[in-house]
Structure formats: C-alpha cells, structure tokens
Amino acid sequence: MSDRNTLLEMRNIEKSFAGVTVLKSANFTLKKGEVHALMGGNGAGKSTLMKILTGVYTRDAGSIHIDGNPVDITSPKSARENGIAMIFQEFSLVNTLSVAQNIYLNREPRKGGLLSDSLAIEQSREILRELEVDIDPSTTVANLSVGYCQMVEIAKAISQNARILIMDEPTASLSEREAQSLFKLVHKLKRKGISVIYISHRMAEVFDLCDRVTVMRDGNITLTSACGDVSIETLVENMLGAAPASSFEWHDRGHIPTGEPTLSVRNLTIPPRLNDVSLDVYAGEIVGLAGLMGSGRTEIAEAIFGRREIDEGEISVLNQPIKSQSDALKNGVALVPEARRTLGLVLEHSLGEKLLLPNLRLVSQVGRVDDRKANSLIDKIIEQLSIKTDNRRKTARLLSGGNQQKIVLGKWLAQLPNLLILDEPTIGVDIGAKSEIVRIIRKMADQGVAVLVISSELEELLAISDRILVLHGGKIIQQLQRKEVRSEEELHHAIQGHKLNQIAS
C-alpha cells in the first residue's frame, strides 16, 4: 500500500465531538514533493482532519505514519517536530518585528551568546533567495501585504525543516498578482521535495497547481485521484453526494420586483477587490450574493453599510446617497456581520438589553427607559423569534450560536429596516436554528424589507433567495433567477466563473 514515495499516511482516522462523529475512518496519503488538494464543503471534515495532523485535536482512533514509521502527534509542538507546518494567512507573525526576527523567533542565531540580528538577516536572506522570494529581511512585517506575510511564513516553516506544509485557502485574500507569486513559490517548494496539502474551493487553482485531489463529505473521504484523471463534474458530485440532504426547502415566494429599487449600487469600484459592481435590490425581495471566499462579497456588504471608502461609483438607498455609516443607519440599512461574535453583539450584555439596543426610542420617555414597557417588548420579541432561554436577563454569551444569531436578527424585528444585509447568516449554526433563521428572514421580506444575503453555503442561498448574483474576481458575472437554477451543482459551476448556460447546454 505504501511505497517509497509516500511521505505521510493517515490511516482510519476517527474523531467525534460530544457524540457527533465528524471523521469516519478517514484515510489520507501524501507523497514526497506532491501538491495535494483537499476539497469539501463546510463541515465536511477537512479542517478537523488537518487539526489532527497539526496536533490541535487528538484523534479518537487511527494512526499517522511519516516515512512509514508511526508517529504520535499530540500537540502543535510535536507536529512541528515531525516537520508539519500549517501556513496561516495572517495573525501568525509579529507585526512589530522584522521579517528576519520573525523567521527566527525564539531560536535566534547568536554571536558570542548575544542575539545577532545581522546573522538572522543574513540567514533569512539565504532562505528567501533560495525560495526566490523578493523580500528584504530587515523590513518590518507591518509594512508587508498579506501575500508577502504568507511567504514569510512559508520561509519560516522551511527554515524549521518543515516537509509538509498545509495551506488553507491561501489565495483567498490575495490579489491576482500575489496569487501568481504564491503559485510560483509552491512549484519551487515541490522541486525541493516539500509536500503541500492545499485546501481550496477554487477548481482552477486545484487543476493548475495540484497533482492529486482528495474530496471529503460528511466526515468521509469520498475520492482521491490524480488531478488529470478527474473532471470538475466528478469533483462536484463527490462534494455534494448523490442526493444532497436538504435541510431547508426553497419555495417560490412569487415576488415580482416593482417600482424603484430600495438599494441601488452603480459602478462600485474598490481596488483591488471590487471592480465595477452594479446591483439592485427591491422592497420585499431576497437577493443572494454568491461567490468564493475573497471574491469581494464582504467588501460589498461593508461598502453598502458605509464602512468602506469608495473609489468610484454610487450607492443609494431609497434614492438617498450612502457615503458613511451614519447615512446608512439614517436610511434604515441594517448589517448583520459575518464575525458576529466580535461585531454584531456585545456578548456581555444580557439578552434583554441586547434586543432593546436599537429599539430604545420605542420605550423611552424623556430620555429615560421605561422598564416595564421595555420588558414587555423584550418578551414579545423573544416569543416571535422562539429563542430558547429561561431568562431574559441571561448573558448573550451563554446562548448557543443559533440563538445568538436570532438575537442579532431580533434586534431589527421590532423596528424593520429598509434594507437588511446578512453576511454568512447561518455559519456555525445547527440545522434546526438554520431553518428558523431562514423563516425569520422570509418573514421580514414579506413585510417589505429588502434583503441581501451573502453566503458561502450555496445550499443556504438556494433555500432563501429569489434572485442570485454571482460574484467572481470582484465583478458580478451573472444574474440568476432562483427558478432557473436547477441544482446546487450548477451554482457551484457558476461561482467558479463558468456561465451557467454553458454548463446547462
């Protein structure tokens, strides 16, 4: 089964959390000098498998072999000692130190017992030159773009004799040019005999860069094959499964856009992420925004909410121009951000206080909050949302992810916004709460709210949208009526940059 070329073998790896199995006897092999793509939807088990390999989680069963010898990976440290390194996109370098100081952090070269920056710079220059990365090692990391930070990290791993690099969506936050430089570097690593596990949703990258591909679904490995031997169709099939278990059904709300659009975006350009984007959302309509990570989805949301400087173009809500966040708020734009833990919800506030925050005006008299009025409003919202809590005073942090998200939505229920923007509304939320959230969103749309949903979960977009806009490389490349999309597979193709009708024909 294993030959001399096999560097890493993960055999029958199993893992479950609190009784829920997330990995079922997964087998994964990596050859020397191979770039191996790892694909699969959210929750397929990719990241769990990689966290086991990097020692963040410990496996319940199975074994890991390197060069044919069993190894025991119990901590990130032991993973590193075995030559396994995860390349994070950012946040793993010390911004205030130089490139060389980062590469040799905590194992600095010394001269006469003292740290020698000049020696570190010299040695870093050597490594960077070998990798053909053009960075001055004495530069402070804070001055580097994300793409270069990633390369510094790779150099750091190489300097520690890493033989297996794991890259998770490495091009997601890179410009086209930076991505090209990264690909060059990956080829270079390959020639040095270093193996790369490349997690990506981008078909083009996978086919261009990788030797083999492994697909996961529901904790199983469904396919491992040489990239030359598979088609995009096969990969997508293996990712989605024969009959995708649909947790929520789409139904045609029969919405026909009329009158003036609530939201109108014209020629929006924010280099390098957005290029000439125009879109409309009408009252009562739910529009989905589909696209890969890094395609500019979040930037659009933030621009409409007035949080981004706009290079070119216009955004208006009910014919009022949006130039700042206060314009957005004044004109009834609500944003439920992606990282709700850090942005949308003051976690230490009690549930009641939280729901109240945007509605203070409704229950205040002469600047004083009327407690009794406030409590009855809170109870009304809790009931409408079917939030499961025993006490309205409960701190929001103690609620489950699904219930937290419902609170964020609940903030806007009592005072309907004109436009509601949702960025990844159901990420990290259990199935039950998911359909609940979809129900709330539909209800708000039925009451005339224009809704823009951004999601990387195509299943979710299909369940909820009346219309889907496909974003690719910072441009809207296609507009689809939900009725026209026959399967999740079609949408998968669309976000890779293919025209839907080309596939259909």
């Binding site: 205030t96 905590n106 003292l114 740290l115 930076e178």
Partner: protein
C-alpha cells in the same frame, strides 16, 4: 516579475513607512525644540547652564529608572500603575530596617524585597487570575499607598546611614553624581537586555502578537510575570534613590511618578499597544519631562502647573503614538 509586484505593493506603503519612521524619532525632535524654547525664553535665568542641565538629569533619575522597566511592561502589552506607591514602600522599608539598627545591606535587600513582592503580586493577578493589568495595578497603587501611610502613620523616617545615602542619591561616585550613574546604568542595561537577549525579544513578541509568540514556543505569561517583577524591582530602586537623596523616607514619595514614567515611555516611541520599544527613547523622554518640569519651575510656575503640563503631555504623547490610520 516579483520585483514588479514589489514596487506595486510598496508605493502606497512608503508613505506609511515614512510616517512610522518620523514617529520613531519624534521624541528627539521635540526634545530639541523644548531645549531651544527654554534656552530662548529663560536662558538668562540659567536654564542652559551645565549645573542646571546636570540638575535636570539628577532629578529625573528616579523617573528614568522606573520608566526603563515600564518600557518592558508596556512592550509586553501591559501597564503598571503601582510603581509610585511601591517606590515609597521600598523607601520606608529600607529606612525602617536601618533605623532598627541593621546595616545598609539589609536595608537595600528589604527595599528590593518589598518591590519584588508587589511586582510578583501584580504579575500573579495579571497572568494567573487574568485581570487586566490596568485594574490590578490601579488597585495595587491605592492599596500600597494606604499601606505606606499606615506603616509610619505618615511620619517621615530619617536615614542616617551615610553609605546608603551616598550610594543612593546624595553622593558622588568617581566624581559623578550617583543619581546620574543609576539612571545611565539602568538605561544601558535596559537597552542591552532588550536588544541582545532572548528575554528582550520574547517581551517584544509577547506584546506584538501573543498568539504568534505562543506558537513559537514563548511562554508569554511567564514573560509578562517577569516584566512585572522587573517593574517592582525598578520601583524599589527608585524609591531608595528618593530616600537617599532626601536622607529620609516619606509615604508620599513617588506620587505621580507612574504617570511621568508612562509619559516618558510613550513619548520615547514605545508602542502603547506593545511589541515595539526603545529604551534610548524612554531615556530621552524622561529627560524631556525633567527639562519641562525644570523649565516651568525656573519660569516661576508651581507644582499645580507642572501637574497640568504633565497631564497634557500624556494626552499629546498618546495622540502622537497612535498608529497612523491605515
């Protein structure tokens, strides 16, 4: 091809980089401006004489010693507000030990011990109990200052041990005022450890990006703990410098010293957000604050004006130290 990419990403970055470099050296520019200003306005009153400049350096020695250690604490992403009260505690402890008939050696050990105990308590509450250092050391400041008052019922304790007095503050060593020697030794030692030892680098990494530091195997909590110990020890030395200079110990020594020290650190170019520090900048910052205080006194302004200026300096220093908008 890569070089093209470089030039593309660098052009907007260059301005930022320039702003940062300007920020790094602003303390020296401002210091020069302060000297020039006082030189012109109160030059006739003797501001620029060698005696007065020496005087400035001597009277800022305590702030310098505290600020050097404070640089480490701030670089590690924390803050220590208890240093002023701790200085008084160490001064009183040393004075009481010597008054009880023990030699200056025991006095010094006692003073240092008191500082280390406070530092260890601060470190414990920040790194083990995980309370923000701002709150821990704010509480500790009040607690220790109260304890200082209780210790002698606010009575001063005189120090008659001439070795102690000469060593700390009053005397000369090799013809140089000992206060000056203490502040220069503290600065050079602080600079050396920060630049050339792994402890210094670990401090910067801890304050710069704690996760990255941990991932590189740095025990960031231990590093922070050591920074608080250092700060306690430096406060103790500063306290003994006050008492050696005055040949007496008082409960109110070091009042406001924490703010002066923090101002010196931030003015010097150390990042308030941690991860970036310069001891030479701190030294210059402390001298500048000393020069301003001295200049105000010569101009005939009193303590109340000094306090207002010190407060304003902190706000301005932090305003300057803020990261340039990205």
């Amino acid at each position: 091809m890569l070089s093209k990419a470089t030039s593309l990403t660098r052009s907007p970055v260059n301005l930022l980089e320039k702003a940062r470099i300007l920020q790094d050296y602003i303390v020296y520019v401002i210091f020069a401006l302060v000297l020039i200003y006082f030189g012109i306005t109160i030059g006739d009153s003797g501001f620029l004489t060698v005696t007065n400049l020496f005087n400035i350096a001597r009277t800022t020695a305590m702030i310098t010693v505290i600020a050097v250690a404070m640089t480490y604490v701030i670089a590690a992403g924390e803050l220590d507000l208890s240093v002023g009260a701790t200085a008084a505690l160490s001064a009183l402890t040393a004075a009481l030990i010597m008054k009880a008939g023990y030699g200056w050696g025991f006095g010094v050990l006692g003073g240092l011990g008191a500082g280390l105990i406070v530092g260890a308590m601060n470190g414990f509450f920040v790194t083990v109990v995980r309370i923000p250092s701002f709150l821990v050391t704010l509480g500790m400041m009040q607690l220790i200052r109260g304890f200082d008052m209780r210790l002698t019922y606010t009575n001063p304790v005189s120090i008659s041990n001439s070795t102690f007095n000469n060593l700390f503050g009053s005397g000369n060593l090799f013809g140089i005022p000992s206060l000056l020697i203490w502040s220069i030794v503290a600065t050079l030692l602080g600079h050396f450890v920060l630049r050339y030892t792994s402890f210094g680098r670990q401090i910067l990494a801890t304050g710069g990006n704690r996760m990255a530091a941990e991932y590189s195997g740095i025990k960031t909590r231990r590093i922070k703990f050591y920074a608080f110990l250092m700060s306690g020890a430096a406060a103790a030395i500063a306290g003994m410098l006050y008492s050696g200079m005055m040949q007496t110990a008082r409960f109110n020594f070091g009042e406001g010293a924490e703010l002066m020290a923090i101002a010196a650190v931030i003015l010097g170019g150390t990042s308030l957000f941690g991860g970036k520090a310069t001891i030479l900048g701190t030294f210059t910052g402390a001298l500048m604050i000393g020069a301003i205080n001295n200049g105000l006194i010569i101009m005939g302004l009193d303590v109340s004006d000094q306090m207002m200026v010190a407060g304003a300096i902190i706000i301005l220093a932090v305003a300057f130290a803020r990261k340039p908008a990205a």
